[in-house]
């Protein structure tokens, strides 16, 4: 059944999301994920993608920031967060404000 949310991830962990009503698409490597994301972006509204894959598809994801949909969201894989999403957050913040207002207090 065609839903409106999908997830791309490596390994079996994405299967768990099927239970949440999310269509799961396993992708072994970045090339496969790139192809999948390009295809899914046309039909789905929200696509979750595990961080390790998202980091490699950064250019494609950034390009999709021009329209409201589809929304591509990096999520941590079963190995935990890699910090890609946090990095991205800092990048947006520096782009817009020129300064880091979230993390600077936590580091020393």
């Amino acid at each position: 059944m065609q839903g409106e949310t999908a997830i791309i991830g490596n390994g079996d962990s994405v299967l768990a999301f099927k239970a949440g009503g999310v269509d799961a698409y396993p992708a072994g490597d970045a090339a496969k994920a790139r192809e999948l994301l390009r295809k899914l972006a046309k039909t789905y509204k929200v696509v979750f993608i595990t961080e390790d894959l998202a980091a490699e598809l950064d250019d494609l994801i950034s390009r999709m920031n021009e329209q409201p949909y589809p929304v591509i969201v990096p999520i941590p894989s079963e190995n935990g967060a890699s910090g890609y999403a946090g990095q991205k957050l800092i990048r947006h913040m520096e782009r817009a404000l020129g300064v880091d207002i979230l993390f600077n207090k936590e580091e020393r």
Partner: protein
């Protein structure tokens, strides 16, 4: 400073004055827009950080749990057990307008269902926990999706807007001012030249008549 390449005429002066007034007005408006966008952005990015931390914490926990479950059962069994969704999200996708930036608005109206998608005999109980948790966390993930996209789009728009403000402030307005003062001085000079010419002619005529 560079000045525009125009003829120093009164008409040109009038036209440039109009353009300067528009540029100044536009600069003020864009600056206000930029300020407001930055204010909204700083609120949103804090929200984004909070949501992301929560989602990451909850998700990595339940994915780890799921990894255990998938270790115990075979891949085929897993795939079979999870082929039907237990929860269907009732979500509305629309767009919102934040300072004339089209951003996604995702409203979760609630979830339909909520049982396990499989028979308990089929699969290990480790999976139960992660399934339940994911059904909960998915709502938060949709919210995160909305906020994160909004932040990304706002950041891009703020940057673009900043460029416009700077272009007006540091290029357009000085250029116009420079050109206007150039035309004005040129016109004044013409006028003085005309006056002295007239005075000269007058004295010449007076000398001849005398």
């Amino acid at each position: 400073m560079s000045r525009l390449n125009v003829n120093p005429t009164r008409m040109e002066l009038k036209r440039l004055k109009g353009r300067l007034a528009t540029a100044i007005r536009g600069h003020k408006l864009l600056k206000d827009k930029s300020d407001e966008m930055i204010r909204r952005f700083s609120v949103l990015i804090k929200e984004n950080k909070r949501l992301r931390d929560e989602v990451e914490k909850e998700l990595s926990g339940c994915l780890k749990q799921f990894a255990f479950a998938s270790g115990v059962s075979s891949r085929a069994a897993l795939e079979k057990a999870f082929s039907m969704p237990s929860v269907k999200l009732d979500v509305k996708y629309s767009t919102d307008n934040v300072m004339s930036v089209e951003v996604p608005k995702i409203t979760v109206n609630g979830t339909i269902g909520g049982d396990m998608p499989y028979a308990f005999a089929e699969i290990t109980s480790e999976a139960d926990y992660s399934v339940k948790k994911i059904s909960e966390v998915i709502v938060k993930m949709m919210k995160l999706a909305e906020v994160e996209k909004t932040v990304a789009m706002l950041a891009a728009e703020i940057e673009r807007n900043k460029r416009r403000v700077n272009a007006l402030e540091h290029v357009m307005i000085p250029q116009l001012e420079e050109t206007i003062s150039y035309i004005r001085s040129k016109l004044d000079e013409n006028e003085r030249a005309a006056t002295t010419r007239l005075m000269k002619v007058k004295t010449m005529i007076a000398d001849r008549n005398a």
